[in-house]
Amino acid sequence: MANINITVNGKSVSKDVEDNTLLVDFLREDLRLTGTHVGCDTSQCGACVVHVDGKAVKSCTTLAASLDGAVVTTVEGVANGELHPMQTAFNDNHGLQCGFCTPGMIMSGIDMVNRYKADGRELTADAIRHELEGNICRCTGYHNIVKSIQDAAAKM
């Protein structure tokens, strides 16, 4: 058992966690933040992507105990009074069908836009498809997901 002090969606949280608790289980079971999904549970699908210290990671492949002092943002934490531009873009461009993969798509989308903007690189449709390597949509809605991220990139 480890005691961790972390910031989740801007709020300080102090909790005891088992040493083998995965971040995704900590978020869903202990904090009841069920927006982060478990799809494959083998680090392939990306439905569980959250940001740790500003970087996209797979919460199903991260130990909660290793995150003492970290800042975690989940899909519940990206809206600030109104929807995040990435969320609005997915809405406007029909970037989801069943919606299961969407939390991970939103978090990976925000991460890639932030990285490309920081480097001054253009986030082309090709680059988005490459960046989405680790996010799987089984409705096969990639075309509109790519459009959504491009749309959001122009507004972020």
Binding site: A2, D19, N20, K58, L63, S66, E133, G134
Partner: protein, 264 residues
Amino acid sequence: MYSTKYHNPASIDAATAALSSGEEAKVLAGGQTLLPTMKQHLAEPSDLVDIRGIAGMADISANGATLTIGAAATHASVADNADVQSLCPALAGLAAHIGDPAVRHMGTIGGSMANNDPAADYPAAALAMNATIVTNSREIAADDFFDGLFATNLEDGEIITAIRFETGAKCGYAKFPNPASRYAMVGVFVAQTGGGVRVAVTGAGDDGVFRHAGLEAALSADWSEGAVAGVDISPGGLLSDFHGDSAYRANLIGVMAKRAVAAS
């Protein structure tokens, strides 16, 4: 996942003490292979010793043509590092194509080297450039480090602290990734080093990463794609599996070698 005890040491000494405290303690450097393996009940470490809290463990530095990459440096940090990009763009490019962006934010070079997956990318770069694996107790040449599938010559309780690459050589890397896992079906790293031309192949050998003498001889005489075309690449000793048989992989070695030379 089976239960385990998590340690977060602040020094190498504390890490080695934690490693020797458990029945079957393992180093945790990024966990992008170890944690999935534990989730599938294929590994059951009594203790996990996280080395990411040790000061300097993720540092990347350049001294002349020598690059020293800390064991806990993530694939993303290697790919984005200005010194790696200028001294050895092939290495930066290799790191930029491991797994996916989220995996690259967590996975580390030290973890990849210690795990020595037969389809991992870094072992090819380390062997082709004859990198030096720096541990808490000694320095090991890549030639002496790899020891077959998922095996290395690390001793019990020994911790990789950094990987040192002598650059300045002309280098290129090309891989044919498995479309699902992104691991190399075949990856070829070609390098002109102080010790001559070296060519390392990952993803294909049934005993893990290996050097290809035929390609090395051909590229020593003539560093060109055309030189690769004349090399006989035997399927002997190559993996045959669900994804491709040994003859297919033998052909891919030639194709990837050409692309690696073209990219150098």
